[in-house]
């Protein structure tokens, strides 16, 4: 299994370009309020450092923003978007809330489980490529059922579309692996 970490090979610190972005975010807020940048910087850290927030990553973010590590931990664990453990390369987050359920999100979840050979939501496929999660309403109720993967919303899902998605992401994974 190739873990995300190995694949992206990334650990703190940020690149110089990213550090400039962090500075720009901090400068949106008044003097002494640099903590306001925290959530955005955590999203960036997750993106750059293997798709999850290790203690090393969080401590690094704390030092960047000149705040206590515990201030980072308590925020990281409050918000559902942050992964506190390593995940597969791609995380499928299927919306499970009412409006999606009305048009078949349960079936989509079952279908993904079968296709990926996993038994429970939260698990990662044996090849380490996919993690299946569920989420609450993602603001796509009229285009349901749907799932989010990274920044992208995949909407109007059917079992056939899900099969295609899995294939597409597998191909993307192979490409990433080749580059490394």
């Amino acid at each position: 299994m190739v873990s995300t970490h190995e694949l992206q090979g990334a650990k703190p610190p940020f690149s110089d370009e990213r550090l400039k972005e962090v500075q720009a975010i901090i400068s949106k807020f008044p003097e002494g309020r640099q903590k306001s940048a925290l959530i955005r910087v955590l999203h960036m850290a997750e993106e750059d450092f293997g798709g999850w927030l290790s203690q090393e990553t969080m401590d690094y973010v704390a030092s960047l923003l000149d705040i206590q590590p515990v201030e980072v931990y308590e925020v990281a664990t409050f918000y559902t978007m942050f992964n506190m453990e390593p995940t597969g390369q791609f995380v499928f987050e299927v919306c499970r809330t009412g409006p999606c359920m009305l048009v078949g999100s349960d079936q989509i979840i079952e279908h993904i489980k079968n296709r990926l050979g996993i038994t429970k939501v939260g698990e990662t496929s044996a090849d380490g490529i996919f993690t299946l999660k569920t989420s609450e309403c993602l603001g796509a109720c009229g285009y349901a059922p749907m799932l989010q993967c990274g920044k992208v919303f995949h909407e109007h899902l059917t079992p056939e579309k899900v099969d295609q998605l899995i294939e597409d992401y597998r191909a993307k994974y192979a490409q990433l692996k080749n580059q490394n």
Binding site: F29, H43, F82, Q107, K151
Partner: protein, 446 residues
């Protein structure tokens, strides 16, 4: 039928760019306000328009603005609530994604009215792709001189920023949002002090929904008198409705307030009826937090009068036989849907989203979820239905923020209108477990 004030130009190719948006008449409200009106006059115009907040509570926007404290030497903030997490609601995303400059224009005109020189848009983290769209549009607005220093030579300065959340429904509650924007956990604050006095960074702050801020644009453009002619006497203007569930054509629609519910569900121009030729069983007209209505109370009120899409008509009959317009998250259930299952689903949502600060909400939402799970899976008894009602009463009104009430009301309404279905789950445990009204059985346990 119906005038479009927000989505009029939505189908124009390239409307997401400054150039096309401007060509279609965009940014006129900024010119008009900054060049011909004083901030106070803008506030008065919005007050006169009777615009009600589009985020869910329906509080008059102009009145909220007039409450903003204005101590000398302390900055004031306008914060746009783009957290949009109320199940069934996706209109703000649609607006920001398709026509981002409308929100930016509204932010400039509104910030001018409030005397804010820095304003923030707080957007749910899951909408990161929308954040990218907004930042691109904001950069264009800076470049064209509509943001930054001395806008249009008026002497008015404004900086506008977007910040993402991290995934938490509670951050839609305005004080939780402010906490989150300050980089903290989204725990709602005790009120008072209200944000109008002590908001972002301890400074006077107005928090408004995306659609409320966008609506300021047409109000300034056509004037409050003209705006008042649209809609009904008590619900002025237009409203974005997010339609979802078992409809032929779900999606976001801009309606003139006062359109009949029947027309909206069945009309050709709107949702075109129930999918797969089925009949309607129930409807939640304003997002998951408002009471569910059974078939006979959707298009007609208890008194047999036509029900309209307006604040007053949807709430006609109070909680006994009415509901609320709320955020305009219009969720439709066909005849095969299981009310108990849906009630459980939403209870799970609220239990998941409770911030955990107050015990009645933290514990109560968890209990409700468990009891509803039992009932739905044929493991409940009749006392469970009473138990739900008791838990409800314990939560209602005993919490820091309204999430507790938002969790309790839908359960109470479901039991009120569909008690037999809850009882059926108790008397037919086998069938309740196997028959899922067309839905797959959930294989996972709690």
């Amino acid at each position: 039928m119906g005038r479009k004030l927000l989505l009029e130009h939505i189908d124009v190719p390239g409307i997401e760019t400054f150039e096309v948006y401007r060509r279609e008449g965009g940014y006129r409200s900024v010119e008009k306000a900054l060049k011909t009106m004083s901030p106070q006059e803008v506030v008065e115009e919005v007050q006169k328009s009777a615009l009600k907040g589009r985020g869910g509570a329906g509080f008059p926007t102009g009145m909220k603005w007039s409450f903003l404290a204005k101590p000398e030497g302390i900055p004031r903030y306008l914060v746009c609530n783009a957290d949009e997490s109320e199940p069934g609601t996706f209109k703000d995303r649609y607006l920001m994604e398709k026509i981002p400059h409308l929100l930016i224009e509204g932010m400039i005109t509104s910030s001018y009215a409030l005397g804010a020189n820095t304003s923030h848009i707080y957007i749910r983290g899951e909408y990161m792709f929308v954040l990218d769209i907004l930042e691109k549009a904001i950069a264009e607005a800076y470049e064209k001189g509509f943001l930054g220093k001395n806008i249009l030579g008026s002497g008015y300065d404004l900086d506008l920023y977007v910040s993402p959340g991290g995934g938490a429904y509670i951050c839609g509650e305005e004080t939780a949002l402010l906490e989150s924007l300050e980089g903290k956990r989204g725990n709602p604050r005790m009120k008072p002090p209200f944000p109008a006095v002590k908001g972002l960074f301890g400074c006077p702050t107005v928090v408004n929904n995306v659609e409320s801020i966008a609506a300021v644009v047409p109000i300034i453009n056509i004037g409050a008198d003209e705006y008042l002619k649209i809609g009904t006497e008590k619900s002025s203007g237009t409203k974005l409705i997010s339609a979802s569930g078992n409809l032929v054509r779900p999606g976001v629609y801009e309606i003139e307030l006062g359109l009949s519910v029947e027309e909206f569900i069945y009309g050709d121009e709107w949702c075109r009826g129930i999918a797969n030729g089925k009949k309607i069983k129930a409807c939640i007209p304003g997002g998951s937090s408002v009471p569910i209505l059974p078939a006979h109370l959707i298009t007609k009120t208890a008194a047999g009068e036509t029900r309209y899409m307006s604040y007053e008509s949807l709430s006609d009959g109070g909680f006994a036989s009415g509901s609320m317009l709320g955020s305009g998250g219009f969720i439709v259930f066909d005849e095969d849907q299981c009310i108990v299952r849906n009630t459980w689903n939403f209870a799970r949502f609220y239990a998941h989203e409770s911030c955990g600060q107050c015990s009645p909400c933290r514990e109560g939402t968890g209990w409700m979820e468990k009891v509803l799970y039992r009932l739905e899976h044929g493991q409940g008894n009749m006392r469970d239905i009473e138990l739900l009602e008791q838990i409800n009463k314990k939560i209602e009104g005993n919490t820091i923020c309204p999430l507790g009430d938002a969790a309790a009301w839908p359960v109470a309404a479901a039991i009120r209108h569909f008690r037999e279905e809850f009882e059926w789950h108790v008397t037919n445990p086998q069938e309740a477990q196997t028959r899922n009204y067309g839905l797959l059985k959930v294989t996972e346990t709690l």
